[in-house]
Amino acid sequence: MSKTNGLRPDLSIIAEWIRPGSRVLDLGCGDGTFLAYLAREKNVTGYGLEIDERYIAPAVRAGVNIIQTDLDAGLSGFDASSFDYVVLSLTLQSVKYPDRLLQEMLRVGHEGLVTFPNFGHWQTRLQLTLFGKMPVSRALPNEWYNTPNIHLCTLHDFEALCRRLSIEVLEYRAVNHVHKSSVGLRLLPNLLGEIALYRFRHRNEGPR
Protein backbone atom coordinates (compact mmCIF):
# COMPACT_ATOMS: atom_id res chain seq x y z
CA MET A 1 0.00 0.00 0.00
CA SER A 2 1.56 3.30 -1.02
CA LYS A 3 1.71 5.81 1.79
CA THR A 4 3.64 8.53 0.05
CA ASN A 5 1.04 9.74 -2.41
CA GLY A 6 -0.21 12.52 -0.14
CA LEU A 7 -3.74 11.12 -0.18
CA ARG A 8 -5.94 10.62 2.85
CA PRO A 9 -5.33 6.95 3.76
CA ASP A 10 -8.87 5.71 3.02
CA LEU A 11 -8.63 7.30 -0.44
CA SER A 12 -5.25 5.72 -0.93
CA ILE A 13 -6.85 2.29 -0.56
CA ILE A 14 -9.81 3.16 -2.77
CA ALA A 15 -7.44 4.45 -5.45
CA GLU A 16 -6.02 0.95 -5.71
CA TRP A 17 -9.50 -0.40 -6.38
CA ILE A 18 -10.03 1.91 -9.35
CA ARG A 19 -9.05 0.66 -12.81
CA PRO A 20 -6.87 3.00 -14.87
CA GLY A 21 -8.64 5.00 -17.56
CA SER A 22 -12.06 4.72 -15.93
CA ARG A 23 -14.68 7.42 -15.40
CA VAL A 24 -15.26 8.51 -11.82
CA LEU A 25 -17.83 10.66 -10.06
CA ASP A 26 -16.57 11.82 -6.66
CA LEU A 27 -19.39 12.84 -4.31
CA GLY A 28 -18.24 15.40 -1.77
CA CYS A 29 -14.92 15.84 -3.57
CA GLY A 30 -13.60 18.65 -1.37
CA ASP A 31 -10.69 20.48 -2.96
CA GLY A 32 -10.40 17.82 -5.65
CA THR A 33 -7.16 16.26 -4.38
CA PHE A 34 -8.42 12.73 -4.99
CA LEU A 35 -9.64 13.36 -8.55
CA ALA A 36 -6.48 15.26 -9.41
CA TYR A 37 -4.48 12.28 -8.13
CA LEU A 38 -6.58 9.79 -10.13
CA ALA A 39 -6.27 11.92 -13.27
CA ARG A 40 -2.51 12.16 -12.87
CA GLU A 41 -1.71 8.61 -11.79
CA LYS A 42 -4.50 6.60 -13.35
CA ASN A 43 -5.61 8.61 -16.33
CA VAL A 44 -9.08 8.80 -14.82
CA THR A 45 -11.65 11.35 -16.06
CA GLY A 46 -14.81 12.57 -14.41
CA TYR A 47 -16.36 15.10 -12.11
CA GLY A 48 -16.40 16.02 -8.48
CA LEU A 49 -19.53 17.23 -6.69
CA GLU A 50 -19.19 19.51 -3.70
CA ILE A 51 -21.60 21.75 -1.82
CA ASP A 52 -19.04 23.79 0.12
CA GLU A 53 -18.19 26.96 -1.80
CA ARG A 54 -14.75 27.23 -0.20
CA TYR A 55 -13.55 24.21 -2.14
CA ILE A 56 -14.54 25.41 -5.62
CA ALA A 57 -11.60 27.69 -6.41
CA PRO A 58 -8.92 25.30 -5.08
CA ALA A 59 -10.42 22.42 -7.08
CA VAL A 60 -10.66 24.54 -10.22
CA ARG A 61 -7.03 25.54 -9.72
CA ALA A 62 -6.08 21.87 -9.39
CA GLY A 63 -7.60 21.28 -12.81
CA VAL A 64 -10.51 19.24 -11.47
CA ASN A 65 -13.99 19.43 -12.95
CA ILE A 66 -15.92 20.46 -9.87
CA ILE A 67 -19.67 21.01 -9.94
CA GLN A 68 -21.23 22.74 -6.97
CA THR A 69 -24.12 20.49 -5.98
CA ASP A 70 -26.19 19.57 -2.95
CA LEU A 71 -26.00 15.77 -2.67
CA ASP A 72 -29.24 15.77 -0.70
CA ALA A 73 -30.95 16.93 -3.90
CA GLY A 74 -29.90 13.65 -5.53
CA LEU A 75 -27.95 12.96 -8.69
CA SER A 76 -30.78 13.62 -11.12
CA GLY A 77 -28.48 15.81 -13.22
CA PHE A 78 -26.63 12.65 -14.25
CA ASP A 79 -27.85 10.07 -16.69
CA ALA A 80 -27.88 6.36 -15.83
CA SER A 81 -24.60 4.46 -16.20
CA SER A 82 -22.51 7.58 -16.86
CA PHE A 83 -19.59 6.42 -14.71
CA ASP A 84 -17.52 3.34 -13.93
CA TYR A 85 -17.25 4.31 -10.27
CA VAL A 86 -19.09 6.64 -7.94
CA VAL A 87 -17.07 7.52 -4.84
CA LEU A 88 -18.48 8.65 -1.50
CA SER A 89 -15.71 9.03 1.04
CA LEU A 90 -16.47 9.84 4.69
CA THR A 91 -19.69 11.53 3.59
CA LEU A 92 -22.37 8.82 3.77
CA GLN A 93 -22.94 9.54 7.47
CA SER A 94 -23.70 13.22 6.86
CA VAL A 95 -26.28 13.04 4.06
CA LYS A 96 -30.02 13.21 4.68
CA TYR A 97 -30.93 10.07 2.73
CA PRO A 98 -28.05 7.57 2.73
CA ASP A 99 -30.27 4.78 1.36
CA ARG A 100 -31.47 6.85 -1.57
CA LEU A 101 -27.98 8.12 -2.28
CA LEU A 102 -26.57 4.57 -2.42
CA GLN A 103 -29.23 3.68 -4.99
CA GLU A 104 -28.52 6.86 -6.94
CA MET A 105 -24.82 5.99 -6.95
CA LEU A 106 -25.58 2.66 -8.59
CA ARG A 107 -27.96 4.27 -11.05
CA VAL A 108 -25.35 6.67 -12.45
CA GLY A 109 -22.35 4.36 -11.94
CA HIS A 110 -21.55 0.66 -12.31
CA GLU A 111 -19.78 0.38 -8.99
CA GLY A 112 -19.92 2.30 -5.76
CA LEU A 113 -16.98 3.02 -3.46
CA VAL A 114 -17.87 4.12 0.06
CA THR A 115 -15.86 4.87 3.17
CA PHE A 116 -17.39 5.78 6.53
CA PRO A 117 -16.46 5.96 10.22
CA ASN A 118 -17.49 2.70 11.87
CA PHE A 119 -19.85 3.33 14.78
CA GLY A 120 -19.29 -0.26 15.88
CA HIS A 121 -15.68 0.41 16.87
CA TRP A 122 -14.93 -0.80 20.40
CA GLN A 123 -14.09 2.67 21.73
CA THR A 124 -17.39 4.00 20.48
CA ARG A 125 -19.25 1.12 22.08
CA LEU A 126 -17.33 1.58 25.31
CA GLN A 127 -18.13 5.27 25.64
CA LEU A 128 -21.82 4.61 25.21
CA THR A 129 -22.13 1.49 27.39
CA LEU A 130 -19.67 2.36 30.12
CA PHE A 131 -20.08 6.12 30.43
CA GLY A 132 -23.52 6.52 28.88
CA LYS A 133 -22.23 9.32 26.66
CA MET A 134 -22.35 9.94 22.94
CA PRO A 135 -18.99 8.82 21.59
CA VAL A 136 -16.34 11.31 20.52
CA SER A 137 -13.29 9.87 18.81
CA ARG A 138 -10.60 10.52 16.24
CA ALA A 139 -12.94 9.40 13.46
CA LEU A 140 -15.92 11.20 15.02
CA PRO A 141 -14.48 14.33 16.61
CA ASN A 142 -17.73 16.33 17.00
CA GLU A 143 -20.13 16.63 19.90
CA TRP A 144 -23.66 15.31 19.42
CA TYR A 145 -25.09 18.82 19.06
CA ASN A 146 -22.74 20.10 16.39
CA THR A 147 -21.92 17.00 14.42
CA PRO A 148 -22.62 16.91 10.70
CA ASN A 149 -22.75 13.12 11.09
CA ILE A 150 -26.45 12.46 11.35
CA HIS A 151 -26.58 8.91 9.97
CA LEU A 152 -23.92 6.90 11.69
CA CYS A 153 -23.76 3.17 11.19
CA THR A 154 -21.65 0.08 11.80
CA LEU A 155 -20.29 -2.39 9.27
CA HIS A 156 -23.20 -4.71 10.12
CA ASP A 157 -25.74 -1.92 9.60
CA PHE A 158 -24.25 -1.00 6.26
CA GLU A 159 -24.22 -4.58 5.05
CA ALA A 160 -27.82 -5.06 6.18
CA LEU A 161 -28.84 -2.00 4.17
CA CYS A 162 -26.95 -3.35 1.17
CA ARG A 163 -28.89 -6.61 1.37
CA ARG A 164 -32.17 -4.72 1.57
CA LEU A 165 -31.24 -2.63 -1.48
CA SER A 166 -30.01 -5.66 -3.48
CA ILE A 167 -26.48 -4.34 -3.36
CA GLU A 168 -23.69 -6.84 -3.66
CA VAL A 169 -20.50 -6.10 -1.73
CA LEU A 170 -17.52 -6.87 -3.96
CA GLU A 171 -14.75 -5.96 -1.58
CA TYR A 172 -14.38 -4.43 1.86
CA ARG A 173 -11.70 -3.37 4.26
CA ALA A 174 -11.73 -2.16 7.84
CA VAL A 175 -8.76 -0.14 8.99
CA ASN A 176 -7.62 1.54 12.19
CA HIS A 177 -6.77 5.17 12.63
CA VAL A 178 -3.45 4.89 10.82
CA HIS A 179 -5.37 3.00 8.14
CA LYS A 180 -3.38 -0.14 8.66
CA SER A 181 -4.95 -3.52 8.31
CA SER A 182 -4.03 -6.33 10.71
CA VAL A 183 -4.99 -9.90 11.58
CA GLY A 184 -7.23 -8.61 14.35
CA LEU A 185 -8.95 -6.22 11.98
CA ARG A 186 -9.54 -9.02 9.54
CA LEU A 187 -11.08 -11.23 12.23
CA LEU A 188 -13.12 -8.58 14.05
CA PRO A 189 -13.61 -5.71 11.59
CA ASN A 190 -16.76 -4.33 13.17
CA LEU A 191 -15.11 -4.16 16.58
CA LEU A 192 -11.62 -2.99 15.66
CA GLY A 193 -12.18 -1.05 12.46
CA GLU A 194 -12.34 2.74 12.75
CA ILE A 195 -12.94 3.36 9.07
CA ALA A 196 -14.86 1.01 6.79
CA LEU A 197 -14.29 0.84 3.05
CA TYR A 198 -16.61 -0.88 0.61
CA ARG A 199 -16.72 -1.57 -3.11
CA PHE A 200 -20.11 -2.71 -4.32
CA ARG A 201 -22.50 -2.95 -7.25
CA HIS A 202 -26.12 -3.72 -7.88
CA ARG A 203 -26.88 -7.43 -7.71
CA ASN A 204 -28.23 -7.44 -11.27
CA GLU A 205 -25.14 -5.73 -12.61
CA GLY A 206 -22.97 -8.42 -14.19
CA PRO A 207 -19.22 -8.31 -14.25
CA ARG A 208 -17.83 -6.20 -17.05
Binding site: I56, A57, V60, R61, V64, N65, I67, F78
Partner: protein, 379 residues
Amino acid sequence: MAVFPDDSVGLVSPRTLHVSEPLRLSSGAVLPEFDLVYETYGHLNEHHSNAILVCHALSGSHHVAGYYPGDKKPGWWENLIGPGKTINTDRFFVVGCNNLGSCFGSTGPNSINPATGRPFGPEFPMVTVRDWVESQTHLATALGIERWAAVIGGSLGGMQVLQWAIDYPDRIAHAVIIAAAPKLTAQNIAFNEVARQAILTDPDFHGGRFYEHNTEPRRGLRLARMLGHITYLSGDILHQKFGRDLREGKINFDYGVEFEIESYLRYQADSFAGRFDANTYLLMTKALDYFDPAAATDGNLTAALSPARASFLVLSFTSDWRFAPARSREIVKALHDNRLRVSYAEIRDHHGHDTFLMRIPLYLEVLEAYLERVFQDST
Protein backbone atom coordinates in the same frame (compact mmCIF):
# COMPACT_ATOMS: atom_id res chain seq x y z
CA MET B 1 -3.25 64.71 -17.74
CA ALA B 2 -5.69 62.43 -16.06
CA VAL B 3 -4.30 59.86 -13.66
CA PHE B 4 -5.84 56.41 -13.74
CA PRO B 5 -5.72 53.73 -11.06
CA ASP B 6 -2.68 51.41 -11.34
CA ASP B 7 -4.87 48.43 -12.02
CA SER B 8 -6.66 50.09 -14.93
CA VAL B 9 -5.69 49.70 -18.56
CA GLY B 10 -5.94 53.50 -18.58
CA LEU B 11 -6.67 55.50 -21.68
CA VAL B 12 -8.21 53.45 -24.47
CA SER B 13 -9.62 54.11 -27.91
CA PRO B 14 -11.91 52.06 -30.09
CA ARG B 15 -11.00 50.77 -33.54
CA THR B 16 -13.14 49.77 -36.47
CA LEU B 17 -12.90 46.68 -38.65
CA HIS B 18 -14.65 47.04 -41.96
CA VAL B 19 -15.73 43.73 -43.45
CA SER B 20 -16.55 44.00 -47.14
CA GLU B 21 -17.68 40.42 -47.43
CA PRO B 22 -21.43 39.80 -47.31
CA LEU B 23 -22.78 38.24 -44.11
CA ARG B 24 -25.74 35.90 -44.51
CA LEU B 25 -27.89 36.22 -41.37
CA SER B 26 -30.01 33.57 -39.65
CA SER B 27 -33.13 35.32 -40.91
CA GLY B 28 -32.02 34.82 -44.49
CA ALA B 29 -31.26 38.53 -44.95
CA VAL B 30 -27.80 39.50 -46.15
CA LEU B 31 -25.64 42.39 -44.94
CA PRO B 32 -23.47 43.21 -47.98
CA GLU B 33 -20.81 44.77 -45.75
CA PHE B 34 -20.50 45.81 -42.13
CA ASP B 35 -18.35 47.47 -39.49
CA LEU B 36 -17.34 46.02 -36.15
CA VAL B 37 -16.08 48.38 -33.49
CA TYR B 38 -13.72 46.88 -30.92
CA GLU B 39 -11.15 47.62 -28.25
CA THR B 40 -8.12 45.62 -27.16
CA TYR B 41 -6.09 45.64 -23.95
CA GLY B 42 -2.79 43.92 -23.20
CA HIS B 43 -0.51 42.30 -25.76
CA LEU B 44 -1.01 39.42 -28.12
CA ASN B 45 1.83 36.95 -27.50
CA GLU B 46 4.15 35.50 -30.10
CA HIS B 47 1.97 32.47 -30.75
CA HIS B 48 -1.25 34.47 -30.69
CA SER B 49 -2.47 32.07 -28.03
CA ASN B 50 -3.40 34.41 -25.19
CA ALA B 51 -6.44 36.22 -26.62
CA ILE B 52 -9.66 36.48 -24.65
CA LEU B 53 -12.86 37.67 -26.26
CA VAL B 54 -15.31 39.40 -23.94
CA CYS B 55 -18.94 39.28 -25.11
CA HIS B 56 -21.24 42.01 -23.89
CA ALA B 57 -24.79 41.85 -22.57
CA LEU B 58 -27.94 43.57 -23.84
CA SER B 59 -26.94 47.18 -23.34
CA GLY B 60 -23.17 46.75 -23.27
CA SER B 61 -20.51 47.64 -25.77
CA HIS B 62 -16.92 47.08 -26.86
CA HIS B 63 -15.85 49.58 -24.20
CA VAL B 64 -15.15 46.92 -21.62
CA ALA B 65 -12.32 48.51 -19.63
CA GLY B 66 -10.26 51.67 -19.38
CA TYR B 67 -11.21 55.28 -19.96
CA TYR B 68 -11.94 57.51 -22.92
CA PRO B 69 -10.35 60.96 -22.84
CA GLY B 70 -12.31 63.21 -20.52
CA ASP B 71 -14.49 60.38 -19.17
CA LYS B 72 -14.92 59.81 -15.45
CA LYS B 73 -16.65 56.46 -15.95
CA PRO B 74 -14.58 53.51 -17.17
CA GLY B 75 -15.69 50.58 -19.35
CA TRP B 76 -18.48 48.34 -18.09
CA TRP B 77 -16.24 45.53 -16.77
CA GLU B 78 -13.47 47.69 -15.31
CA ASN B 79 -14.12 45.84 -12.04
CA LEU B 80 -12.64 42.66 -13.49
CA ILE B 81 -10.27 43.69 -16.27
CA GLY B 82 -6.86 45.32 -15.97
CA PRO B 83 -3.23 44.73 -15.06
CA GLY B 84 -3.16 42.27 -12.16
CA LYS B 85 -6.94 42.02 -12.03
CA THR B 86 -9.07 38.90 -12.42
CA ILE B 87 -8.89 39.07 -16.21
CA ASN B 88 -5.25 40.05 -16.12
CA THR B 89 -4.14 42.21 -19.05
CA ASP B 90 -0.49 41.56 -18.13
CA ARG B 91 -1.16 38.00 -19.23
CA PHE B 92 -3.98 38.15 -21.71
CA PHE B 93 -4.79 40.08 -24.85
CA VAL B 94 -8.37 41.08 -24.15
CA VAL B 95 -10.76 41.98 -26.96
CA GLY B 96 -14.13 43.68 -26.55
CA CYS B 97 -16.35 43.75 -29.61
CA ASN B 98 -19.57 45.63 -30.16
CA ASN B 99 -22.31 43.35 -31.48
CA LEU B 100 -23.91 43.93 -34.85
CA GLY B 101 -27.17 45.84 -34.48
CA SER B 102 -25.83 47.83 -31.55
CA CYS B 103 -25.78 51.60 -31.40
CA PHE B 104 -22.18 52.09 -30.29
CA GLY B 105 -20.41 51.96 -33.63
CA SER B 106 -20.82 48.53 -35.14
CA THR B 107 -23.27 48.51 -38.02
CA GLY B 108 -26.77 48.85 -36.63
CA PRO B 109 -30.10 50.57 -37.09
CA ASN B 110 -28.62 54.03 -36.51
CA SER B 111 -25.89 53.49 -39.16
CA ILE B 112 -26.31 54.84 -42.66
CA ASN B 113 -27.59 52.21 -45.07
CA PRO B 114 -25.22 52.51 -48.06
CA ALA B 115 -28.04 51.40 -50.35
CA THR B 116 -30.31 54.32 -49.42
CA GLY B 117 -28.04 56.92 -47.91
CA ARG B 118 -30.23 57.23 -44.82
CA PRO B 119 -30.20 55.43 -41.44
CA PHE B 120 -31.26 51.77 -41.58
CA GLY B 121 -33.89 52.25 -38.89
CA PRO B 122 -36.47 49.50 -39.21
CA GLU B 123 -34.74 48.23 -42.36
CA PHE B 124 -31.89 46.85 -40.31
CA PRO B 125 -32.31 43.07 -40.39
CA MET B 126 -32.94 41.04 -37.24
CA VAL B 127 -29.70 39.63 -35.92
CA THR B 128 -29.23 36.56 -33.74
CA VAL B 129 -26.56 35.43 -31.32
CA ARG B 130 -25.35 33.11 -34.05
CA ASP B 131 -24.95 36.03 -36.45
CA TRP B 132 -22.83 37.83 -33.87
CA VAL B 133 -20.51 34.85 -33.55
CA GLU B 134 -20.30 34.59 -37.32
CA SER B 135 -19.47 38.29 -37.67
CA GLN B 136 -16.84 38.10 -34.93
CA THR B 137 -14.92 35.32 -36.64
CA HIS B 138 -13.89 38.05 -39.10
CA LEU B 139 -12.50 40.09 -36.23
CA ALA B 140 -10.60 37.10 -34.83
CA THR B 141 -9.06 36.43 -38.22
CA ALA B 142 -8.21 40.08 -38.78
CA LEU B 143 -6.42 40.17 -35.41
CA GLY B 144 -4.52 36.99 -36.28
CA ILE B 145 -6.31 34.92 -33.66
CA GLU B 146 -6.81 31.37 -34.87
CA ARG B 147 -8.19 30.21 -31.54
CA TRP B 148 -9.35 32.19 -28.53
CA ALA B 149 -7.68 31.19 -25.26
CA ALA B 150 -11.11 31.91 -23.81
CA VAL B 151 -14.38 33.51 -24.70
CA ILE B 152 -16.07 35.06 -21.68
CA GLY B 153 -19.45 36.68 -21.20
CA GLY B 154 -22.27 37.35 -18.77
CA SER B 155 -26.00 37.23 -19.41
CA LEU B 156 -26.62 37.60 -23.17
CA GLY B 157 -22.83 37.62 -23.49
CA GLY B 158 -22.76 34.19 -21.84
CA MET B 159 -25.20 32.91 -24.43
CA GLN B 160 -22.85 34.16 -27.09
CA VAL B 161 -20.02 32.19 -25.48
CA LEU B 162 -22.15 29.05 -25.67
CA GLN B 163 -22.82 29.73 -29.35
CA TRP B 164 -19.10 30.19 -30.05
CA ALA B 165 -18.43 26.80 -28.44
CA ILE B 166 -21.05 25.12 -30.62
CA ASP B 167 -20.36 26.86 -33.93
CA TYR B 168 -16.56 27.10 -33.83
CA PRO B 169 -15.28 24.31 -31.58
CA ASP B 170 -11.77 24.62 -33.02
CA ARG B 171 -11.53 28.32 -32.38
CA ILE B 172 -12.24 28.40 -28.63
CA ALA B 173 -10.15 26.65 -25.98
CA HIS B 174 -12.10 27.75 -22.91
CA ALA B 175 -15.65 29.01 -22.49
CA VAL B 176 -16.70 31.03 -19.45
CA ILE B 177 -20.47 31.39 -19.21
CA ILE B 178 -21.74 33.65 -16.43
CA ALA B 179 -25.34 34.29 -15.31
CA ALA B 180 -26.77 32.93 -18.55
CA ALA B 181 -29.42 30.45 -19.69
CA PRO B 182 -29.69 27.99 -22.57
CA LYS B 183 -32.82 29.81 -23.72
CA LEU B 184 -35.39 32.25 -22.38
CA THR B 185 -38.46 31.18 -20.47
CA ALA B 186 -41.95 32.45 -21.26
CA GLN B 187 -41.55 34.82 -18.30
CA ASN B 188 -38.27 36.21 -19.70
CA ILE B 189 -39.87 36.76 -23.11
CA ALA B 190 -42.86 38.37 -21.44
CA PHE B 191 -40.63 40.99 -19.81
CA ASN B 192 -38.96 41.66 -23.14
CA GLU B 193 -42.31 42.04 -24.86
CA VAL B 194 -43.50 44.64 -22.36
CA ALA B 195 -40.27 46.55 -22.96
CA ARG B 196 -40.77 46.38 -26.72
CA GLN B 197 -44.39 47.44 -26.51
CA ALA B 198 -43.34 50.48 -24.47
CA ILE B 199 -41.07 51.53 -27.37
CA LEU B 200 -43.30 50.48 -30.25
CA THR B 201 -46.31 52.35 -28.92
CA ASP B 202 -44.42 55.56 -28.17
CA PRO B 203 -45.75 58.17 -30.64
CA ASP B 204 -42.17 59.34 -31.15
CA PHE B 205 -41.15 55.92 -32.49
CA HIS B 206 -42.43 56.67 -36.00
CA GLY B 207 -42.15 53.04 -37.07
CA GLY B 208 -38.44 53.12 -36.26
CA ARG B 209 -37.81 56.15 -38.50
CA PHE B 210 -37.54 58.60 -35.60
CA TYR B 211 -34.07 59.74 -36.72
CA GLU B 212 -35.64 61.46 -39.69
CA HIS B 213 -38.13 63.19 -37.41
CA ASN B 214 -35.34 64.50 -35.23
CA THR B 215 -36.77 62.83 -32.20
CA GLU B 216 -36.54 59.56 -30.31
CA PRO B 217 -39.02 57.44 -28.36
CA ARG B 218 -37.62 58.47 -25.01
CA ARG B 219 -40.73 57.59 -23.03
CA GLY B 220 -40.77 54.07 -24.41
CA LEU B 221 -37.06 53.56 -23.93
CA ARG B 222 -37.28 54.89 -20.38
CA LEU B 223 -40.05 52.46 -19.49
CA ALA B 224 -38.20 49.59 -21.13
CA ARG B 225 -35.11 50.35 -19.07
CA MET B 226 -37.03 50.75 -15.82
CA LEU B 227 -38.62 47.36 -16.29
CA GLY B 228 -35.35 45.76 -17.33
CA HIS B 229 -33.50 47.29 -14.43
CA ILE B 230 -35.93 45.83 -11.90
CA THR B 231 -35.26 42.37 -13.29
CA TYR B 232 -31.50 42.85 -13.04
CA LEU B 233 -31.71 43.37 -9.28
CA SER B 234 -33.03 41.22 -6.49
CA GLY B 235 -35.91 42.24 -4.25
CA ASP B 236 -33.47 41.99 -1.35
CA ILE B 237 -31.03 44.51 -2.72
CA LEU B 238 -33.81 46.96 -3.64
CA HIS B 239 -35.09 46.66 -0.10
CA GLN B 240 -31.62 47.11 1.34
CA LYS B 241 -30.78 50.12 -0.84
CA PHE B 242 -34.11 51.95 -0.76
CA GLY B 243 -36.60 50.20 1.46
CA ARG B 244 -39.65 52.44 1.66
CA ASP B 245 -37.55 55.54 2.16
CA LEU B 246 -39.25 58.76 1.15
CA ARG B 247 -37.53 61.55 -0.75
CA GLU B 248 -38.98 64.31 1.34
CA GLY B 249 -39.61 62.30 4.45
CA LYS B 250 -43.37 62.41 3.95
CA ILE B 251 -46.07 61.31 1.54
CA ASN B 252 -47.31 64.13 -0.70
CA PHE B 253 -50.41 62.48 -2.14
CA ASP B 254 -49.32 63.16 -5.73
CA TYR B 255 -47.50 61.45 -8.62
CA GLY B 256 -44.17 63.16 -8.23
CA VAL B 257 -41.15 61.33 -6.93
CA GLU B 258 -42.06 60.18 -3.44
CA PHE B 259 -40.22 56.94 -2.74
CA GLU B 260 -36.45 56.78 -3.22
CA ILE B 261 -36.85 53.76 -5.49
CA GLU B 262 -38.91 55.92 -7.86
CA SER B 263 -36.17 58.48 -7.96
CA TYR B 264 -33.57 55.80 -8.64
CA LEU B 265 -35.58 54.23 -11.48
CA ARG B 266 -36.20 57.60 -13.11
CA TYR B 267 -32.52 58.44 -12.92
CA GLN B 268 -31.58 55.10 -14.49
CA ALA B 269 -34.19 55.61 -17.19
CA ASP B 270 -33.00 59.11 -18.05
CA SER B 271 -29.34 58.23 -18.31
CA PHE B 272 -30.16 55.19 -20.43
CA ALA B 273 -32.50 57.03 -22.80
CA GLY B 274 -29.76 59.57 -23.36
CA ARG B 275 -27.26 57.03 -24.64
CA PHE B 276 -29.15 54.10 -26.09
CA ASP B 277 -31.02 53.59 -29.34
CA ALA B 278 -34.60 52.35 -29.32
CA ASN B 279 -34.22 50.24 -32.46
CA THR B 280 -31.18 48.56 -30.96
CA TYR B 281 -33.12 47.81 -27.78
CA LEU B 282 -35.80 46.11 -29.87
CA LEU B 283 -33.21 44.08 -31.79
CA MET B 284 -31.27 42.99 -28.72
CA THR B 285 -34.36 41.78 -26.90
CA LYS B 286 -35.34 39.82 -29.99
CA ALA B 287 -31.88 38.25 -30.18
CA LEU B 288 -32.40 37.16 -26.57
CA ASP B 289 -35.85 35.75 -27.29
CA TYR B 290 -34.65 33.84 -30.35
CA PHE B 291 -31.62 32.33 -28.66
CA ASP B 292 -32.18 28.59 -28.40
CA PRO B 293 -29.31 26.47 -29.69
CA ALA B 294 -31.32 23.33 -28.94
CA ALA B 295 -34.10 24.35 -31.35
CA ALA B 296 -32.22 22.61 -34.15
CA THR B 297 -32.03 19.36 -32.15
CA ASP B 298 -35.68 19.01 -31.09
CA GLY B 299 -35.06 20.82 -27.84
CA ASN B 300 -32.25 18.47 -26.86
CA LEU B 301 -29.49 20.70 -25.47
CA THR B 302 -27.12 17.77 -25.02
CA ALA B 303 -27.35 17.02 -28.74
CA ALA B 304 -27.00 20.72 -29.56
CA LEU B 305 -23.77 20.86 -27.59
CA SER B 306 -22.28 17.69 -29.06
CA PRO B 307 -19.98 19.60 -31.48
CA ALA B 308 -18.41 21.56 -28.59
CA ARG B 309 -14.79 20.75 -27.63
CA ALA B 310 -13.93 23.57 -25.26
CA SER B 311 -13.44 23.37 -21.50
CA PHE B 312 -16.12 25.24 -19.61
CA LEU B 313 -16.61 27.28 -16.50
CA VAL B 314 -20.25 28.03 -15.73
CA LEU B 315 -21.15 30.49 -12.97
CA SER B 316 -24.51 31.56 -11.58
CA PHE B 317 -25.68 33.73 -8.69
CA THR B 318 -28.13 32.56 -6.05
CA SER B 319 -30.15 35.78 -6.08
CA ASP B 320 -30.43 35.96 -9.89
CA TRP B 321 -34.08 35.40 -10.67
CA ARG B 322 -33.80 36.58 -14.27
CA PHE B 323 -31.47 33.70 -15.20
CA ALA B 324 -31.67 31.57 -12.09
CA PRO B 325 -28.99 29.00 -11.14
CA ALA B 326 -31.29 26.20 -12.33
CA ARG B 327 -30.91 27.57 -15.87
CA SER B 328 -27.12 27.39 -15.62
CA ARG B 329 -27.40 23.84 -14.34
CA GLU B 330 -29.23 22.92 -17.56
CA ILE B 331 -26.13 24.03 -19.43
CA VAL B 332 -23.87 22.13 -17.04
CA LYS B 333 -25.88 18.94 -17.46
CA ALA B 334 -25.72 19.15 -21.25
CA LEU B 335 -21.95 19.66 -20.99
CA HIS B 336 -21.25 16.69 -18.75
CA ASP B 337 -23.67 14.57 -20.76
CA ASN B 338 -21.21 15.22 -23.57
CA ARG B 339 -18.34 14.33 -21.24
CA LEU B 340 -16.88 17.80 -21.69
CA ARG B 341 -14.69 19.37 -19.07
CA VAL B 342 -16.86 21.66 -16.96
CA SER B 343 -16.74 23.30 -13.56
CA TYR B 344 -19.72 25.03 -12.02
CA ALA B 345 -20.19 27.34 -9.07
CA GLU B 346 -23.31 28.91 -7.64
CA ILE B 347 -22.09 32.14 -6.07
CA ARG B 348 -23.97 33.11 -2.92
CA ASP B 349 -24.84 36.78 -3.19
CA HIS B 350 -27.86 39.05 -2.91
CA HIS B 351 -27.41 41.54 -5.76
CA GLY B 352 -29.38 39.65 -8.40
CA HIS B 353 -28.55 39.24 -12.08
CA ASP B 354 -26.18 42.21 -12.19
CA THR B 355 -23.83 40.50 -9.71
CA PHE B 356 -21.72 39.41 -12.68
CA LEU B 357 -20.54 43.02 -13.02
CA MET B 358 -19.42 43.27 -9.41
CA ARG B 359 -16.40 42.51 -7.32
CA ILE B 360 -17.77 39.65 -5.23
CA PRO B 361 -14.75 37.91 -3.59
CA LEU B 362 -15.80 34.30 -4.14
CA TYR B 363 -16.84 35.03 -7.72
CA LEU B 364 -13.50 36.63 -8.54
CA GLU B 365 -11.63 33.87 -6.75
CA VAL B 366 -13.24 31.10 -8.80
CA LEU B 367 -12.87 33.03 -12.05
CA GLU B 368 -9.24 33.78 -11.28
CA ALA B 369 -8.55 30.13 -10.48
CA TYR B 370 -10.06 29.14 -13.81
CA LEU B 371 -8.16 31.79 -15.75
CA GLU B 372 -4.97 30.45 -14.20
CA ARG B 373 -5.78 27.23 -16.05
CA VAL B 374 -6.53 29.16 -19.22
CA PHE B 375 -3.17 30.85 -18.89
CA GLN B 376 -1.32 27.57 -18.33
CA ASP B 377 -2.98 26.15 -21.43
CA SER B 378 -2.11 29.22 -23.47
CA THR B 379 1.64 29.15 -22.81
